[in-house]
């Protein structure tokens, strides 16, 4: 069984593309070989900045011969049909077989395809792989038309077994395959021949190339750690930087340098970000002081002066970069000391989104909302509003201009410099959080208020202008914002009347300048009704009900004014957008809870209950129900409930009455019936106070205790008794079951 080695040697492949390229090379080649009838034992795939390598073990030497049968026309078919069949199979008539088929005799063509040697298949598959390689961005070079990520220089492709190695002949874009490659650009530039993967890897190592990305990562991590340790420092781990650097070097040589004293006063985040973004340095921290005092750069070469020149050069570049950073920092601190008014002014000229106004408009909205939310999260309204007004001012700072990823982090430093209390400063840093599903959720009340207000403003704004996420497109990260709200609310046990808040934010947009065209039209009431998702009649009715009389003379401006004074939430009229946005929240919540093992039907059962826009309440309910359903009693109770409900519903439909008068225990005839009365009384005594406390767990536990008496009742008692008084009493008893159980959730929505 031969082994296959492929190396595609090119100019420097961007580091970020290498992982994807390794996967693609492996998949395209192995899929192609298997499809052509070859098998292989194991596959290894590697990359360096200049090469993409695939090694396959135990490839079959040739594909199996296959024989393919095709049924043709009947032997008595017209000549034209036979000619067509011969043409399509490429056979002559004497090569066809005649076989009996049902009633007639039919021609059969048996096409035998001999097995093809592996080399032939590999050549075809590799050529197609190179020509169809899924680079995120590819290019042409010189006078050729082949596309690759950067100019492709050589193709090494050999099959080797005990008897030796042979080149698989192919030519792509004028590049013939061979069995030679080169080592490190500076430390091993001579070409050499290879006979197998082992030979290749060993020779490459001698020519100062570490083939395996994982090995280079390990060498960098290990080397950096040792260097830092020897200097009394520790490396700040950065997984993505490590991967990137390992994709930039063939022979990693970590070097440690000290950050000049003059820059040690810069915030750690600034040092780290500047060194990472501009120079791809790791940061080294002094564990005693917690300060970033050193850096580790990874060179791609061993030098006679042990990297002294390289380190000196890097230090020089670092000094220039950090001088800039210090300049920004000092200037920003000066503005911060004076209260950041300069930045606040500046944000009036920065557009947030063309229809949603300036950053300054946005901040005003967030501040008002933060004030409103503050009491609900235990924050002081004045302080929450103030914090919201400061939270985004760092967007105008020079440092955030240079490093946008430091937004918030810098805001905290500048707020402290301005003499703001810790809680306000922390809100500047934390109000963007949580950013991802695993990002920590802020818990300080002021931070929570501003973080919620920020996200809710973004969501309601984009909903109002109809810029919602579609499919995979979510350019404003609205899904993330909604999940952020959900996690903030749940993480802090906050009760929000979400629908009311959403509507109070969205409806004013209708009065906004960018909706002026609605108001300027002849039939503006129709437009408004459509915007709100209600009928024109309902709108007129609402205007009348709220005492705002209009007639045909009412000027649009006047109407606009009247309209703006209505508290739509108060009259339970929520706009279409608000309801739609709430549904979006519910969808995100379902995804979130599903990850926590709560089924969608459980959530639906709880969504059907009143107050389902209070996410904290909803999740409490859903969690309790989900837990109940995991118990044997809980599962069976649902069956009992459904049975009771079905019988009752049918009887009510048939009799045309509602059996809600309350059953009389005196009319109970059997022990089981009496036991059910007692059980319901006991359950109710527990459930009612628990529900008041929103202690759904206790309520549902009490409820699931009903399982045995309900089962026993159904087993022994005939509901439709001959005596109509007894029957009515029993139906009224079923109604009590329904009443007690449906207070927690709509159990009819539970599946199974």
């Amino acid at each position: 069984m031969p082994d296959l080695l492929i190396e595609l040697f090119s100019e420097e492949i961007p580091a970020r593309m290498q992982a994807g390229a390794r996967e693609a090379l492996k998949k395209l080649v192995t899929d192609g070989l298997v499809e052509a009838g070859l098998t292989y034992g194991g596959a290894g795939v590697f990359s360096t900045p200049r090469r993409l390598v695939l090694a396959l073990e135990g490839l079959s030497p040739a594909s199996r011969p296959v024989s393919e049968e095709r049924k043709g026309p009947r032997t008595d078919a017209p000549q034209a049909a036979l000619d067509g069949f011969l043409r399509s199979t490429g056979l002559s008539i004497d090569q066809l077989e005649k076989r009996a088929d049902k009633k007639a005799e039919v021609y059969f063509a048996v096409v035998k395809k001999p097995g093809r040697p592996a080399a032939e298949i590999v050549a075809k598959v590799l050529e197609s792989t190179i020509r169809n390689f899924p680079w995120p961005k590819s290019m042409r070079w010189g006078a050729g038309s082949l596309r690759w990520v950067r100019p492709l220089h050589s193709i090494l492709c050999i099959l080797s077994d005990e008897s030796g190695a042979g080149i698989v002949p192919l030519t792509v874009g004028g590049i013939p395959s061979g069995d030679t490659t080169r080592g490190h650009r500076f430390m091993g530039p001579e070409a050499f021949t290879v006979t197998s993967f082992e030979d290749y890897a060993a020779k490459l190592r001698r020519a100062k190339v570490m083939l395996d990305q994982a090995e280079r990562e390990e060498a960098i991590a290990h080397g950096a750690k040792n260097l830092a340790f020897a200097a009394g420092l520790e490396v700040v781990e950065d997984r993505s930087l490590l991967t990137e650097i390992a994709g930039l070097v063939e022979w990693p040589v970590p070097l440690l340098g000290q950050i000049p004293e003059a820059f040690l006063g810069l915030p750690a985040e600034v040092l780290q970000t500047s060194m990472k973004e501009h120079q791809k340095f790791f940061s080294a921290r002094n564990p005693k002081t917690g300060r970033i005092e050193g850096f580790i750069t990874v060179a791609n070469i061993e030098t006679p002066d042990d990297g002294a020149t390289i380190l000196a050069g890097n230090l020089k570049v670092l000094t220039a970069r950090l001088s800039d950073a210090r300049f920004f920092w000092e200037n920003d601190l000066r503005v911060a000391k004076t209260g950041m008014a300069e930045w606040a002014e500046g944000l009036t000229h920065v557009t947030f989104q063309s229809k949603l106004g300036s950053q300054s408009d946005r901040i005003n909205r967030i501040a008002a909302l933060a004030r409103e939310i503050a009491p609900l999260v235990g924050a002081e309204p004045d302080q929450a509003e103030h914090a919201a007004r400061l939270a985004k001012l760092d967007l105008r700072s020079a440092m955030v201009g240079e490093f946008p990823e430091l937004q918030g982090v810098m805001g905290r430093y500048y707020a402290l410099e301005a003499g703001e209390p810790e809680a306000v400063a922390n809100a500047a840093r934390d109000h963007y959080s949580p950013l991802g599903p695993s990002d920590a959720v802020p818990s300080e009340p002021v931070s929570v208020a501003v973080a919620l207000a920020d996200k809710l403003d973004t969501l309601t704004g984009f909903w109002a202008i109809d810029e919602k996420p579609t499919g995979s497109k979510d350019p404003f990260a609205l899904r993330r914002a909604a999940l952020g709200v959900i996690r903030l609310v749940l993480g802090n046990g906050v009760h929000l009347d979400l629908l009311n808040i959403l509507d109070n934010q969205i409806t004013p947009w209708l009065l906004h300048e960018h909706n002026r065209e609605i108001w300027e039209q002849q039939n503006y009431e129709d437009q408004i009704a459509r915007y709100l998702g209600i009928s024109r009649e309902f709108l007129d009715e609402t205007m009348r009900k709220t005492g705002r009389i209009r007639n045909s003379e009412t000027h649009p401006e006047e109407f606009r004014e009247i309209f703006s004074t209505i508290n739509w939430g108060e009259i339970d009229l929520f706009s279409k957008q608000s309801r739609d946005l709430l549904a979006f929240f519910h969808d995100r919540l379902k995804v979130f809870l599903k990850d926590q093992g709560i089924r969608h039907d459980v959530i639906d059962a709880c969504l059907a209950m009143p107050g389902s826009d209070d996410i904290t309440l909803l999740v409490k309910r859903a969690t309790a129900l989900s837990d109940t359903l995991k118990t044997e009693d809980g599962k069976n109770l649902i069956q009992g409930y459904k049975r009771a409900n079905n019988i009752l519903t049918q009887a009510e439909a048939k009799d045309g009455v509602e059996y809600s008068f309350g059953p009389d225990p005196k009319l109970a005839e059997t022990d089981q019936e009496r036991a059910l009365f007692t059980a319901l009384d006991q359950a109710e005594a527990k459930i009612a106070p628990a529900m008041k406390e929103e202690d759904f767990a206790t309520a549902m536990q009490a409820m699931s205790k009903l399982r045995a008496p309900i089962d026993a009742f159904f087993d022994t008692v005939q509901i439709n008794a001959e005596n109509p008084i007894i029957r009515r009493n029993r139906l009224n008893l079923l109604h009590r079951i329904r009443e007690i159980c449906s207070g927690t959730a709509d159990l009819t929505k539970i599946e199974g």
Binding site: M139, G144, H153
Partner: protein, 320 residues
């Protein structure tokens, strides 16, 4: 590359020595050494020897110094690294030779960078010029963490696919020279030999002009006039291209692609000045860039109709 090392190894003593060594090196490698384009441009790429000549199939190899102006980068001569007027060294070869990376590394050696002692890296950096409607793939080249050059394989210029592809090298001369000669502030860098009878630093020559132009770019230039000149350049570019190709006086086909392109360069520089004056809003910015790009595209279209820009394979390009 052994023969390329002759000029290398010793450290240059002055800014001009670095330029001279690059000129000699690329002349040695067969490039036509051109002179700077005699107009205000933002980068060496604007020289028609690069923009226009990268179009069409005719082989081309040129190298030149290009004084470049970026009005917004003015710092009154105080910033150690930033200038509103600086020099780029530009190499353009079509089709890009297979050994372009080695040729480039040879040029570093020629200016005194010991490749066995430094860490040279090709770091992904794709180039795009929205004003020229051009883009390419390549790298920024790092020497010990310092970006010393831009290395690009042109894929499209003026909206036209580059076939064949040109390889473009751009050296930021001041930064590179400061690094090679270990100078901390650009104004302290020796321009001619420190041993010359009259030694001159970069600052002796440019400190005053940096001051003057910084004031001019940020506060002095008359914006109304600049806006007007922009409109004029735009109109003139269009007018020149609208001429019928046949010149009645000579009876020849003469398409005025280069004179029209001069107007594009002018419009681009005027836009840069207006930008520095802070009178172009964020939304207008895109519109102005789009207008310059439209001109660049039209010039590229016109150049493709000329002798120098035509594809050799086109039947009408074959002499009758």
């Amino acid at each position: 590359m052994a023969q390329g090392s002759t000029a290398g190894s010793t450290t240059p003593q002055s800014f001009q020595e670095i330029i001279l060594r690059l000129q000699n090196y690329w002349a040695d490698k067969g490039c036509a050494i051109l002179q700077p384009y005699d107009m205000e441009v933002g980068a060496g790429t604007f020289h028609p020897a690069t923009t226009l000549r990268s179009l069409g199939t005719k082989p081309w190899a040129a190298a030149y110094v290009q004084p470049s102006r970026r009005p917004t980068d003015g710092r009154y001569g105080e910033n150690p690294n930033r200038l509103q007027h600086y020099y780029q060294y530009q190499v353009i070869i079509k089709p890009s030779p297979a050994n372009l990376q080695e040729l480039y590394l040879g040029s570093l050696k020629a200016i005194g960078i010991d490749l066995g002692l430094h860490d040279i890296r090709f770091v992904e950096d794709d180039w795009e010029s929205p004003t020229l409607g051009a883009w390419g793939l390549g790298w920024e080249v790092w020497c010990d963490g310092m970006e010393v050059s831009q290395f690009t394989y042109f894929q499209q210029v003026g909206g036209h696919d580059c076939k064949p592809v040109s390889g473009e090298l751009t050296y930021g001369l001041e930064r590179l020279a400061m690094y090679v000669m270990n100078v901390g502030h650009v104004m302290d860098m020796p321009f001619n030999s420190p041993d010359a009878p009259i030694p001159l630093t970069y600052g002796d020559i440019f400190r005053q002009t940096e001051e003057e132009y910084s004031r001019h770019n940020f506060d002095g230039a008359t914006t109304g006039m600049l806006f007007r000149h922009f409109e004029d350049a735009e109109a003139e570019c269009q007018r020149l291209l609208d001429f019928p190709a046949l010149d009645p006086k000579t009876g020849k086909t003469i398409i005025m692609a280069h004179p029209a392109y001069d107007q594009t360069i002018k419009a681009s520089h005027l836009f840069n000045l207006l930008d520095a004056r802070g009178v172009i809003s964020v939304t207008e910015r895109q519109a102005y860039i789009g207008r310059v790009r439209a001109l660049a595209k039209k010039c590229a279209d016109a150049f493709r109709q000329t002798e120098a820009g035509r594809d050799a394979a086109e039947p009408d390009a074959v002499p009758a």
